[in-house]
């Protein structure tokens, strides 16, 4: 019993206790973003537009649809690019908004995290890699965008896969316990410096 309690404690500690209230950063437009000032849920999307996985998610419109859905529910969308300068996926901050807009993606903020600071703080491993924070700025979901990961990724219709991001946002908005809180992220490795 004692063992069980410790275990439960650790599980809850490890999976959800990661809080991002104290984080602030300068976005691609040079504005300071203080996460504690944002009064809604936040979705973080780790991205690298040259990574084939990200390409497939954008190419099939899956990422854009997910983003639209989140924004319709008043959730803030932050796209983070942790590729170091000179590595795959890196873009100049002042090109960032236009580049993503040309893909039909309109995040609330883009962070060019070329030093990998935020990426390492979040322990972001792949592109894409999704983190969802609730209103209290606790990370309640981390992992893949959907269940299309693994060997079947290249042949699956992404719009038909189970979208974890939509699921979690729906759960939060209807005050239900989350049906999923952690999945295996899949994709290219984040190109840290």
């Amino acid at each position: 019993m004692k063992k069980l309690i410790i275990l439960l404690f650790l599980v809850s500690l490890n999976v959800s206790a990661f809080n991002i209230k104290d984080i602030n950063f300068i976005n691609s437009e040079g504005k300071e973003v203080d996460l504690s000032q944002i009064d809604s849920e936040i979705i973080f999307e780790w991205s690298n537009l040259e990574c084939p996985y990200v390409k497939r998610h954008y190419g099939s419109n899956n990422m854009q649809t997910t983003q639209k859905f989140a924004k319709s529910k008043n959730v803030i969308w932050i796209t983070v690019i942790s590729s170091a300068e000179g590595k795959q996926g890196y873009i100049q901050p002042n090109d960032a908004l236009n580049t993503f807009a040309s893909f039909g993606s309109f995040p609330d903020h883009i962070l060019v995290d070329e030093n990998g600071d935020l990426g390492k703080k979040f322990n972001a491993k792949t592109t894409p890699h999704i983190f969802i924070a609730d209103k209290n700025k606790n990370i309640v979901y981390q992992g893949a965008i959907d269940d299309a990961g693994g060997s079947r990724f290249w042949t699956t219709d992404l719009n038909q896969s189970t979208n974890f991001v939509k699921k979690v946002v729906n759960d939060i908005k209807s005050n239900k316990p989350l049906s999923v809180s952690k999945t295996r992220p899949y994709g290219c490795s984040v190109k840290y410096g």
Partner: protein
């Protein structure tokens, strides 16, 4: 079928041929190799796919690690055919700090097994669609499809390099000896523990599934005795460790060997064991244990002499103090010497635990001679200090005698320490040496404490009885506990030796008494006779060597159950397991008072609970390994198995009937 694969794999080494099917993509090429150019009905055939990539590119394993994906194959087969696989070979680590991935650089060879039905057409086709990911700095998905017609013509064998690659990466389905997963108390790490016959340079565990381990953290290999411990950082998911499956890769001087861990491992929780005693508690226990040692029947007589010594010298406090200090340093040094010896044994991979000395017939015999010798000295009128000190004449100083008494006290104490300090010493021996030494030091200090206190407070000595003839009487009486100890040691020895060797030990004991008698003879007026006497003493001492048995020669050495494989250290039925040894007093007391009592025996019998005894009187490495896996370095150890695969319940070292019955009722 898995077994068949290995038979097949050795066969196909010579038979493999290159097919016509080959898929080219931007950075890699897929080649198809069937086992032979003909495929028979109702058979299992190995088909192999090789993906060769441009230099510096890699593809992923079934568990890609932090990023990436494994290759995917889709087969189009004639009716009734079945394809299984790929049978994943063991991968390499491909680090991308701060991330870690698992995969294959430059090329990978993936075997599949094709099962054919009873009737197959003369000619048929197999279609393949493949998707695989190759990465260097960046990742590029590759894909292609093709058809293979059977039977086919082109014959082109796999190269020797390719065959070698298959061989070194093959994952063996062999159980590693004593394999178990040990979960640490802090839940942050776990250990894979296993025995391995040769020296391991490097080892790494590749998990099949996501969520068990933190890929990027290094895995640390350490060696204790013959068993290895691979320490792995847990992933925060806290998955059920007994389900852990994957490939354990081991590098030795003979090459790399890969073993499959199947996901049904035994998991031990470190916290339920001795490690719960903190270091400082262990120090305190050792100190108290050392104090109690003084009262042991085997130690007390020797120490009583020390007290006599104090009493006699009570008029010169300075000298008493010096003697006390020298005695203490003798005792402490001896303890540390024994400690170093054990650590040295461990370093060289010999399985020892506290009390191991009593498993050696040589040591036991020497102890018997020593106790007989002491017994003789006590009963005779010789002065022990004088006898042992080099400058025997100067009875007043005799510092070396004091030192030797310290040494002797510890040596005679060893048979008694084992049963009483199992827990603290067990901890001490499992700890790194910077903790082992303080614990032994604390034990030694506890042992010497009364004498140090006495020698530094001469006033306390005045509370002791005044010197007088009673001292001589008491000293002579002490011969009897000494004799008893010798008999007890002889009884232990009798389990290890045959009758002939046992008789030799008895003869040696008699020679020992002869030596005492000779030494005790009054000095003759004729010098020649004194020379003869001294010569005889020396010869007798030398002759003792011939009465020491050099190895155990028990006539029925297999009366004990021996554990063959600790992987299987589990029981199908409810079972009470008793680890015991003849020289372990606690064990014998427990057995006499509790385990052999009619109530316990009847309960075991009527409830069909098996009772199994493992005898550790003689050193047995397998039993030592099991003891160690439960955090013990010695006996007794009592385990209760429910018989349903759950972890054993560990009972305390000292048993009572109600305690055992209560525990049994819970089964």
């Amino acid at each position: 079928m898995k077994l068949k694969f290995f038979i097949l794999i050795s066969l196909f080494f010579s038979l493999h041929t290159q097919a016509t099917l080959s898929i080219n993509d931007s950075h890699s090429k897929l080649n198809f190799y069937p086992e032979s150019n003909e495929i028979n009905a109702n058979s299992e055939n190995i088909l192999t796919i090789e993906i060769s990539m441009d230099k510096g590119w890699h593809t992923y394993w079934i568990n890609p690690g932090d990023s990436g994906d494994p290759a995917e194959f889709e087969w189009e087969l004639p009716e009734g055919f079945q394809m299984s696989g790929p049978i994943w070979p063991s991968p390499d680590k491909i680090p991308f700090p701060p991330l870690m991935t698992y995969g294959f650089d430059d090329q990978v060879i993936l075997p599949f097994i094709l099962k054919t039905p009873k009737i197959i057409p003369k000619q048929f086709e197999i279609g393949l669609k493949a998707n695989w990911l190759v990465c260097k700095e960046i990742c590029i998905p590759q894909s292609g499809s093709g058809k293979i017609k059977f039977p086919y013509q082109n014959v082109n064998s796999l190269s020797n390099d390719q065959l070698k690659e298959i061989k070194t990466r093959t994952v063996q389905k062999i159980n590693l000896k004593n394999f178990k997963v040990i979960s640490d108390k802090n839940f942050e790490t776990f250990n894979l523990s296993f025995d391995y016959p040769s020296n391991i340079y490097e080892s790494y565990f590749f998990p099949y599934e996501y969520g068990f381990i933190n890929y990027a953290e290094p895995q640390n290999l350490s060696k204790i005795n013959n068993s290895y411990n691979l320490e792995i950082q847990k992933a925060i998911d806290n998955k059920e460790l007994s389900l852990l499956s994957g490939v354990l890769s081991i590098k030795t001087q003979d090459g790399v060997f890969n073993y499959e861990i199947k996901g049904n491992s035994k998991v031990l929780f470190q916290e339920s064991n001795i490690n719960e005693i903190s270091f400082f508690t262990a120090l305190l226990f050792a100190l108290i244990g050392g104090l109690i040692l003084n009262l042991m029947p085997c130690v007390f007589p020797v120490l009583s002499l020390k007290i006599f010594n104090f009493i006699e010298k009570s008029d010169s406090p300075k000298e008493v103090k010096a003697h006390g200090l020298i005695f203490a340093s003798g005792a402490i040094l001896t303890f540390l010497l024994i400690c170093s010896l054990i650590l040295l044994f461990k370093y060289f991979g010999v399985q020892v635990g506290w009390g191991f000395q009593l498993q050696s017939p040589i040591f036991l015999t020497l102890l018997i001679f020593l106790f007989i010798f002491l017994s003789g000295f006590f009963i005779s009128s010789l002065n022990l200090n004088l006898a042992f000190s080099g400058n025997a004449v100067s009875g007043s100083s005799g510092y070396s005698g004091s030192f030797f008494t310290g040494f002797l006290a510890v040596i005679v104490a060893t048979p008694c320490t084992a049963p009483f300090m199992g827990s603290a010493l067990g901890l001490a021996l499992l700890q790194p040496s910077y903790q082992t030494y303080p614990i032994f030091l604390s034990l030694a200090l506890g042992f010497c404490l009364p004498y140090l206190v006495l020698s530094f407070n001469p006033r306390l000595i005045s509370f002791l009885p005044k010197p007088g003839p009673w001292m001589e009487n008491l000293k002579q009486f002490m011969a009897f506990p000494m004799g008893l100890t010798a008999i007890w040691l002889f009884w232990i020895l009798s389990a290890q030796l045959n009758r002939f060797d046992l008789s030799l030990v008895l003869v040696g004991s008699l020679v020992t008494i002869f030596i005492v008698w000779l030494s005790n003879l009054k000095k003759s007026e004729r010098q020649v006779l004194n020379y003869v006497k001294n010569l005889l003493i020396i010869l007798s001492i030398i002759s003792l060597i011939f009465f020491v048995p050099m190895s155990s020669s028990s006539e029925e050495s297999s009366k004990v159950e021996t554990i063959i494989d600790t992987n299987d250290f589990e029981f199908q039925n409810p079972t009470f397991v008793n680890f015991t040894a003849d020289w372990c007093i606690t064990c014998k007391v427990n057995e006499a008072r509790v385990l052999k009592s009619s109530t316990v025996l009847e309960y075991l019998d009527t409830n069909k609970i098996d009772y199994i005894v493992y005898d550790w009187t003689e050193r047995n490495e397998n039993i030592s390994a099991v003891l160690e896996s439960y955090g013990r370095s010695g006996v007794p150890l009592y385990l209760l198995f429910k018989g349903d695969g759950t972890d054993a319940i560990i009972l305390p070292e000292i048993l009572t009937e109600t305690m055992v019955l209560n525990a049994l009722r819970k089964l």
